[in-house]
Symmetry: C2
Subunit: 190 residues, 2 copies
């Protein structure tokens, strides 16, 4: 029932190319060629190359920030919140493997929206940090260096997009379970 518009095609195709070579190295001719049209025709649907990047990154960044706030505000244990965050990252990465690459690697090429993007990211990270801090206070999380704890988990979650598309034998549900166990309880056998 739902028809993919030309504009959506352009965004998806661009995201795929941006993942392979990065925003700066992809030309409007590259994008057009992937769609079997000429570069000039792109401008009937989008206003500029920057416009494409903006549409790829901002929607995903807003989704992360909004969902993080929901998790932060929910009244469950810290461990449950962490599991929800892990599930959130896996869900978005499965649905948007290409856009995730731009979010992680091409955000610095944003122009007008750069400041807004950085605010979204800051909000996300602050809420994440605070969840961990409250977990330490509540005796659920070990009292290690907060930044190292945050960084360690976040690095893995942010890198998911690099890794998910290759392992299609692993479904999101099982990956969420595996990854939660490893990130929360480690890998050592006792």
């Amino acid at each position: 029932m739902k028809k993919e518009t030309r504009k959506e095609q352009i965004i998806q195709t661009s995201a795929k190319l941006f993942k392979e070579k990065g925003y700066a190295a992809v030309t409007m001719r590259d994008i057009a060629k992937s769609l079997d049209i000429k570069a000039a025709s792109l401008y009937n649907h989008i206003s500029s190359k920057q416009d494409i990047l903006k549409m790829i990154i901002i929607s995903i960044a807003e989704e992360f920030t909004n969902k993080m706030l929901e998790i932060y505000s929910s009244e469950v244990s810290t461990i449950d919140k962490l599991q929800s965050i892990i599930a959130l990252h896996i869900d978005i990465a499965y649905k948007n493997p290409y856009k995730m690459a731009s979010l992680n690697s091409d955000w610095m090429h944003l122009e007008e929206q750069l400041k807004y993007y950085l605010e979204l990211r800051k909000s996300y990270e602050n809420n994440f940090r605070d969840i961990i801090k409250k977990g330490v206070s509540a005796g659920e999380i070990q009292n290690k260096n907060i930044e190292v704890t945050l960084f360690s988990i976040l690095s893995t979650l942010r890198s998911l997009y690099l890794w998910i598309p290759q392992k299609e034998d692993l479904n999101p549900k099982e990956l969420t379970k595996n990854l939660s166990e490893i990130l929360i309880d480690g890998i050592r056998k006792h």
Copy 2:
């Protein structure tokens, strides 16, 4: 006693700029401007922009692969090997925060050396995977999905360069201890 040559200056300055904007978005004029010379003067020291990228990436990639082979071949427990790998990443990231960015984000812009780089990375990852597998067999590591286990640790280690330069209050020794504990034993308090 040791004097930094112009060539070394060019490589360091380029690495710093590549970290900020990525290889493709940095021009020879940008690099020259950072060194207060003209773009044409760069070519007296290096042969091309590609040449700079090659020198940044390959030396670090070889160091990782060689040191990983040493760790792999050493006769210590799996946990000790993992701690050595963590220490290796922290050591290299502290010494080369800019070059690490190119290694992680600009390797796809390598031309003649791309195949060689991919071989080095493959060798590194295969040895890492095998260390984990042997740890499972020896009963030191939990029998979870090997790829998830490998990916989780490697993502954190590969992202260190994004995070280390900002936290200069944390010394390498302490970071190694903290990160080892978190990656190996998790964050949950029992």
